[in-house]
């Protein structure tokens, strides 16, 4: 059947629409399924949860109030806040050093910062456990936060470096001509210009601390010190699992991360590509 260019165009559009629909279905299905399972009252099976007959917030109430998830949320928030403050501060100083100065071993420092990100946590967890144990900081939220600062730091330096380097040298020189000291220039000129980058970096540090699993699992063995990622495990019964509750808790964990992701999405997409693509 010979198809005219017009008919072929229609077929192409249709194929494209179907492809987009397929991608969206695959992408969004787990999130949708998590949400509907959390909202249905004791789903007996997956098919029942798919289109819940009645919507209820009971699972959320149980998870937050009775299962103590509010406490885990508090722990996670405290740890994440400390991580954000600590890593942002240290990363800002370090990023300014590597972006605004030329000094010997600068490239070495950059390679170190890059390489150290590749080390698997599985290798770090054993010595860190012994170290934290010797310091009697197991089950300490502050101890966990200090370790997370170290985990978030290399990436934060790497990311902020780009923002700090993007400030034109002329702006800095103008400040010196006006008689600023380096410290004054840093606070009044560099810092405000790098601040948006600092926000993005802070959000990523937050996500690192919020999502981290293996270290929290190892360091925190008292249930009142669990973070959200570890607290989720306790919904698994010995023999049966109430999936409505597990999904409600999963939703509670996911929401803050999603909100932050949407916040940084624009910078994320453009920022990612600057690195990989030569313009």
């Amino acid at each position: 059947m010979p198809a005219g260019p017009r008919a072929r165009g229609h077929v192409r559009t249709l194929a494209r629409v179907l492809a987009v629909a397929g991608v969206l279905a695959f992408t969004l299905f787990p999130a949708y399924f998590m949400l509907v399972s959390a909202l249905s009252a004791r789903p007996a099976s997956g098919t029942e949860a798919l289109l819940p007959a009645a919507v209820t917030l009971e699972n959320f109430r149980f998870v937050l109030v009775e299962a103590g998830f509010l406490r885990y949320l508090g722990n996670s928030l405290a740890v994440a806040a400390l991580t954000v403050v600590g890593s942002s501060l240290l990363a800002l100083l370090a990023a300014v050093a590597v972006a605004r100065f030329r000094f010997r071993m600068r490239t070495t420092v950059l390679v170190l910062v890059l390489t150290v990100q590749m080390v698997p946590l599985e290798a770090l967890v054993i010595p860190l456990f012994l170290q934290v144990r010797d310091l009697r900081m197991l089950n300490s939220l502050i101890g966990l936060s200090i370790v997370y600062i170290a985990l978030a730091l290399p990436f934060a330096v790497w990311m902020l470096r780009g923002f700090a380097a993007a400030v034109p040298a002329e702006v800095e020189e103008a400040a010196y001509i006006d008689g600023c000291s380096w410290g004054r220039m840093f606070w009044s000129v560099l810092f405000p210009l790098v601040a948006p980058g600092l926000v993005a970096t802070a959000i990523f540090s937050f996500i690192t601390a919020w999502n981290e699993f293996i270290l929290a699992l190892t360091f925190m063995n008292q249930s009142e010190k669990y973070t959200v990622a570890v607290g989720l495990r306790q919904f698994f019964g010995q023999y049966t699992t109430d999936w409505g509750q597990v999904m409600a808790a999963s939703t509670v964990i996911t929401l803050p991360v999603m909100a932050f992701f949407l916040l940084v999405q624009r910078g994320l997409v453009s920022g990612l590509t600057q690195g990989a693509v030569k313009q």
Binding site: P30, F101, T251
Partner: protein, 336 residues
């Protein structure tokens, strides 16, 4: 998640250097500190700024790496944890590890084959999605991208639980659907018990979580390809596949290199995605990968020395991939 963005800014050209002139240090310092020469202070400034960060990285990342290597040449069990004593045994842990059939038949294949499959799947699917997005209108593209972000934003822990629930052996969606269709009998089927099925589910989870990064990065690469290149190829009579192979791929080769190597690094060290699946925390010995095996050896079996040796092996594998990654980054221009 954080390291998924480490490519960003990797090659931004021409980072301007604001060399602080000597007059920048001209302000008189208060107090009775001895005045260093302006030159010395200018030299010391970057190191002063770097010092706190490097100290944290040194104490909490580099020192532990040294310590895990040191632990891997010891017989370090629970009594050593309590007493702090160390029993140096040389390379015995490594000899035991490399002579263990379990490493070669189970842990290593589970790690490497899974990584290859997951990386291939992530890169292929991500690229297809990028090609699709590239044909859409600006508005549609932004809308679809926002939806794709949802998959990326889902934490590994909750994402894994959702997939476990979808494939739940008793009441899961997949079982019910297959049972209704008559593919699975009423007795059901435990896909978590068998390692290829177990890792197929893990791969689905990892690809779902990882493809947005590839799609976004490749899309950005596609958008930098000049239109004329494709038009010229079209005039020469090249078909869609030929244009993809001979125009698109060579132009954005560096992008493919970066997403492939980063995905490989992440997929080699998946932990939560395996550990949280049924049997993945040690209950089913057939499904452990190097990372989980190291963890189970150390913390469940209290054999920290052997666990460290496994961890060192995994680290060495990742390090060699990292060297390739750095070479790719540094190939074209000096890091500025």
């Amino acid at each position: 998640m954080a390291d998924s963005l480490s490519t960003r800014q990797a090659e931004d050209p021409g980072a301007p250097v604001g060399a602080p002139a000597a007059r920048g240090t001209g302000a008189p310092t208060g107090g009775g500190r001895p005045r260093l020469s302006a030159r010395t202070r200018r030299r010391a400034l970057p190191w002063t700024l770097l010092a706190p960060g490097l100290a944290v990285i040194g104490i909490l990342l580099l020192y532990p790496i040294g310590r895990v290597v040191w632990l891997s040449v010891q017989d370090y069990g629970l009594d050593n944890v309590v007493s702090g004593r160390s029993d140096f045994i040389g390379l015995d842990n490594y000899a035991r590890l490399l002579g263990d059939r379990y490493l070669w038949t189970v842990a290593l294949p589970n790690t490497a084959v899974f990584a290859v499959v997951a990386v291939a799947g992530t890169v292929a699917f991500g690229t297809l999605v990028a090609l699709l997005l590239n044909t859409l209108s600006r508005f549609a593209r932004t809308a679809v991208l926002s939806c794709i972000m949802v998959a990326w934003a889902m934490p590994a822990v909750s994402g894994t639980y959702v997939w476990v629930w979808i494939f739940d052996v008793d009441d899961g969606l997949v079982r019910r659907v297959l049972q209704t269709a008559g593919v699975v009998g009423p007795e059901g089927y435990n896909w978590f018990a068998e390692r290829s099925a177990f890792y197929a589910i893990a791969a689905l989870n990892v690809i779902h979580h990882g493809f947005p990064f590839v799609a976004v990065t490749v899309l950005a690469g596609l958008m930098t390809i000049p239109r004329e290149l494709h038009e010229a190829a079209l005039l020469d009579g090249a078909g869609a596949w030929q244009r993809f192979r001979n125009v698109t791929v060579p132009t954005i080769r560096p992008v493919f290199a970066v997403v492939t190597i980063l995905s490989t690094i992440w997929d080699f060290k998946v932990f939560a995605q395996v550990y949280l699946m049924p049997g993945g925390s040690g209950g089913n010995r057939d499904v452990l990968n190097l990372g989980v095996w190291s963890y189970v050896r150390s913390f469940a079996n209290q054999s920290y020395g052997l666990g460290s040796a496994i961890a060192v092996l995994l680290t060495l594998m990742l390090l060699s991939i990292t060297v390739v990654y750095l070479r790719t980054l540094f190939r074209d221009e000096e890091l500025r």
